[in-house]
Symmetry: C2
Subunit: 222 residues, 2 copies
Amino acid sequence: MNVDNAAEALSTNDIAEKIKSRIHSGAYAPGQRLIEVDLADEYAAGRGRIREVFKTLVGEGYLEFEANRGVHVRRFTRAEILEMGRVREVLEGLSARLAAELELSADQRTRLEAHQEAMNRAEQTHDVDAYNSENFSYHATICAIAGNQHVEQFLHRVRLPLYRLQLPRNFSSDSMTTSNRDHKVITAAILSSNPDAAEAAMRAHVRAGNAHVMRISEQYFS
Amino acid sequence: MNVDNAAEALSTNDIAEKIKSRIHSGAYAPGQRLIEVDLADEYAAGRGRIREVFKTLVGEGYLEFEANRGVHVRRFTRAEILEMGRVREVLEGLSARLAAELELSADQRTRLEAHQEAMNRAEQTHDVDAYNSENFSYHATICAIAGNQHVEQFLHRVRLPLYRLQLPRNFSSDSMTTSNRDHKVITAAILSSNPDAAEAAMRAHVRAGNAHVMRISEQYFS
DNA sequence: GTCAACATGATTGTCGACAATGTGTGAACC
DNA sequence: GGTTCACACATTGTCGACAATCATGTTGAC
């Protein structure tokens, strides 16, 4: 497309981040094959560097590798997403548990409450986009409070398919209310340092989300 | 050491497997730096290929990368192992739950029972090595029955530090009895299709193992 | 018209060479 | 003797070239 893809020197890490964000945004669509020389050209790098980035992104679950065919953007079937959903259930549950086990700092409490209130506002004003966005931040915040690197890393991986399914109609105004009811229970459990309740509520919450995936139209899985 | 490292052509995959097994066996010790040109020489490959293998193994948690310093074998602190232990707890729990949710085939029942009986025998004969080995197979079997790719993959990652800690004295004859008591409960829960019981028992079992790690001498973490 | 064999182009697989970076050693100076 | 600078060595970072492989389209025989 662009003729002037001269660009300045990008570090190998920058390239990886750019490719990831293009996958998230859908600029690189699920199933799309990525040609080494094209990207090398586009990012002003040699093929070797692109290849190494590919290997890293395969490891992170963004790309899939096929011998002598290179890589293509990972495509998730409904069955795979549900399989990942089961894992997400227990990991989000652990995340909530770990957060509830800690004595939260004032700052952590404030952040958690702020996200909860933002979701409450979005719910009342029926702002689906805002709710969606805050929903992600909320879960990320709990994960950050939990402070377990592996939980964070693994959760990121099993959440990958959701980013692409993160469409406005993913939340109807109705399911938004249901979802936020769960959030309030989780928030309360964490703030009152009740690990068992926090984990149980979070697991139920994610399980409900998975049930939602089961009802989504087949077209989204292409 | 060897002068005659001529060797035949190894596929890139073979190289990755060989490096992994050397890490497991301790031939490449935790913290040891791996020099690209040395391995390229040893495995009769170019440096580029070795670099790509490194990227893959970093992604799998075997190696750690440092800018301009290459890679070294991942070293786990006690705190990290305990952090991974928390994740292992819920993932092994999920593994047991998923297995218990299924209608097991005759073959699956047989395999599970065979491992349980092998552990029983090892317990009675106080054969710590056999018990250790069967213990790993037992957990792997449950995981295989569960049939969730992500559970399997993630569990493999959080089990990594245990392979190196898999030393004879890891199980005293006493703790072997305690451990196997858990196993019997888990096996029964899976065979009788009781997911809640299976998960709860497995979580308690892993939690006990983590408590054991907390008491291990500091020397093992080097 | 159909199919096989072949030729061709596109893409990945692999290597070696050179540049950039970091590390350690030794000499010069205070 | 101790500190600092500079040089040499070891190692990683990057690229371009060539070989191997795969996909596709074309030719020719039946």
